[in-house]
């Protein structure tokens, strides 16, 4: 399943270009680098810092209907775990197809144990997680 990934800061597109061309770490970057100069979009997602004019470290997963399904915001000094972001992304896609299932914390990919909440599972979550 493909997603559109866009990275966003309040830098201009000109600075994005300069950074991508000069930083070796970004040599293989293929996703669009968005510029939110005015902070308008950043404010909508609650990541805009009015004191500094910069964005906090935010990651958001949105489904094709436009519903925000996952939000994570870290302060400046903590990086995000991309594996965890992709886990949430994959889980959301899986659950959009299997709407009666939920993905527990240890779910990583299709085939891992999911739960189907029902009366019979009340008080039996441990057994349900253990079935594999």
């Amino acid at each position: 399943m493909r997603a559109e990934i866009v990275t966003i800061s309040t830098d201009s597109k000109f600075v994005h270009l300069a950074w991508q061309r000069s930083e070796k770490e970004l040599e293989k970057v293929r996703y669009p680098m968005g510029s939110d100069n005015t902070g308008k979009l950043s404010r909508i997602f609650g990541v805009y810092d009015e004191q500094t004019g910069m964005d906090l470290r935010g990651a958001f997963v949105i489904n094709p209907d436009g519903t925000l399904l996952n939000a994570e915001i870290n302060y400046y000094n903590l990086g995000r775990n991309i594996e965890e972001l992709m886990r949430k992304f994959k889980a959301n896609i899986y659950m959009s197809r299997k709407t009666n299932e939920v993905c527990p914390s240890k779910w990583k990919e299709e085939g891992d144990v999911t739960l189907s909440p029902s009366a019979s599972m009340v008080g039996r979550v441990h057994e349900a997680l253990d079935k594999k």
């Binding site: 559109e4 966003i8 600075v15 308008k40 979009l41 910069m54 935010g58 949105i62 436009g66 990086g79």
Partner: protein
């Protein structure tokens, strides 16, 4: 300036456009998000403080 109450999980993201630098085309462009588009894909937005720092 629009009212800026941040979105919560479960709410609808309004359509938006962003100026972009596209490293594949090595050119500037526009990224547009609009759930009304029939081909709108899943979207991941990844905000960070500033270019030329760690992400």
């Amino acid at each position: 300036m629009i009212d800026s109450i941040p979105l919560k999980v479960g709410q609808k993201v309004p359509p938006f456009e962003l100026d972009i630098y596209d490293p594949v085309k090595e050119d500037f462009g526009t990224f547009s998000f609009d759930p009304a588009k029939p081909d709108q894909k899943w979207t991941i937005l990844f905000f960070y403080p500033a270019d030329f720092t760690f992400v």
